[in-house]
Symmetry: none
Subunit: 222 residues, 2 copies
DNA sequence: GACTCTATCTCGGTA
DNA sequence: TACCGAGGTAGAGTC
């Protein structure tokens, strides 16, 4: 990683046009070529950037970064205050927990947590307006579309309602019920879900994970 | 701005839980307290971060950043390789061109680009669920609600459908047609728009800008 | 402060 | 590769 502190002006032309007047900024160049220009205040995001893959051409006072899509970032250097390079090496990467995907995987594995007798037909069931998180069948064989969210909001209810509308057009699936499930569901979302005939089910992710671990300890050797 | 290159491990607990194993990384601390941790590759985004306002407590080998919302970032420093601080000063900020607002302004000026005979009634026409980008009348005097996006997605169709539903309640405006317009429109959005009786119109912003410039050259002295 | 909407969103997944 | 949805979205504007 190369870190340059410099007084510079910047022009970007690509998905939009943007210009940065002369000021002192940090220019960060990562090992893969990703370049970012940061100011000191009022934003965690860079002012300007160009992600890898790209081509960087440098002369004494001008850097030009361009990519295949025809985007171009031009940095004019007026004064270089510091210029250091460090080899950071590979990063083992981030370990995340508690996101929607884990919830979905967990519920795909054990749909009966949501409702007794519920069985999985397919995860990410495709429709022409996007995939339904989980398509299931209830104890009576009725199709159930399940939308999994980390947090249940009005958007999630709307999204599920759209899917149900689509699925109901398929005579092999109709009629279709809906369940919105999340770790916590906003009161407004519960109201809207009721109005739409959709069930809202809060689940305890941490509790489930624990149960999962217990089960693993019971049924497998680790 | 303070730049620390250090071998470190990081734990974040807040909107999710995340952990970074030991590795050499860049820790960037901006003047406003915003902190970001970058690796050297494969991402323009920081691995972990905490935006201002926050509180940073530092000891020799441990930094703890926390905020009011109960989020907490813990950095354990195993080896500090470099630690520099620069005062960058205020940044004059970014000048942009080509975003949704420009499209809207352009279409407000020349609504007939979308459909022959279309005239503007009002830009940002208020409803009780938010403003309609452009309210127009077609060649037959029928009200047309126009939603302008840089990119047309399902959300935009829903948004426009909600506005139309609202406007149709106003006997002075009903019946109301809808046009979703964007530089590019997703296939799913086109499907949903058709199902909702909404037209989807792609427009060429660059071409229009050029036409604009030509027109300016023809009709004004610059 | 809470809500809404845009974004050079970024990022990961899948067809 | 392109498209699509999620995000600790961030950030800006409005109420």
């Amino acid at each position: 990683m190369r870190l340059v502190i410099a007084r510079c002006t910047v022009d970007y032309s690509g998905r939009l046009d943007a210009h940065l007047p002369e000021a002192v900024r940090l220019i960060m160049v990562k090992a893969d070529g990703t370049l970012a220009i940061h100011s000191d205040g009022n934003a965690s995001k860079p002012l300007n950037w160009m992600v890898s893959p790209n081509v960087l051409e440098t002369s004494d006072d001008r850097w030009v970064v361009s990519n295949k899509k025809g985007e171009r970032l031009t940095i004019t250097l007026h004064e270089i205050i510091q210029d250091v390079t460090h080899n950071l090496g590979d990063d083992p990467g981030l370990v995340k927990d508690g996101v929607e995907d884990h919830l979905q995987a967990l519920l795909a594995d054990k749909p009966w947590i949501l409702e007794e007798g519920l069985t999985l037909i397919r995860r990410e069931f495709p429709t022409d307006i996007g995939p339904v998180d989980l398509l299931c069948a209830d104890a009576n064989g009725v199709t159930v579309a399940v939308e999994v969210k980390r947090r249940g909001d009005i958007d999630g209810v709307e999204q599920l309602a759209r899917y149900i509308e689509r699925l109901d057009n398929d005579s092999r699936l109709a009629p279709v019920r809906g369940i919105l499930t999340a770790q916590s569901i906003a009161p407004q979302a519960i109201v809207l879900a009721e109005a739409r005939g959709i069930e809202a089910v809060e689940i305890d992710y941490d509790g489930l994970k624990e149960a999962e671990d217990t089960e693993l300890r019971l049924f497998s050797i680790r």
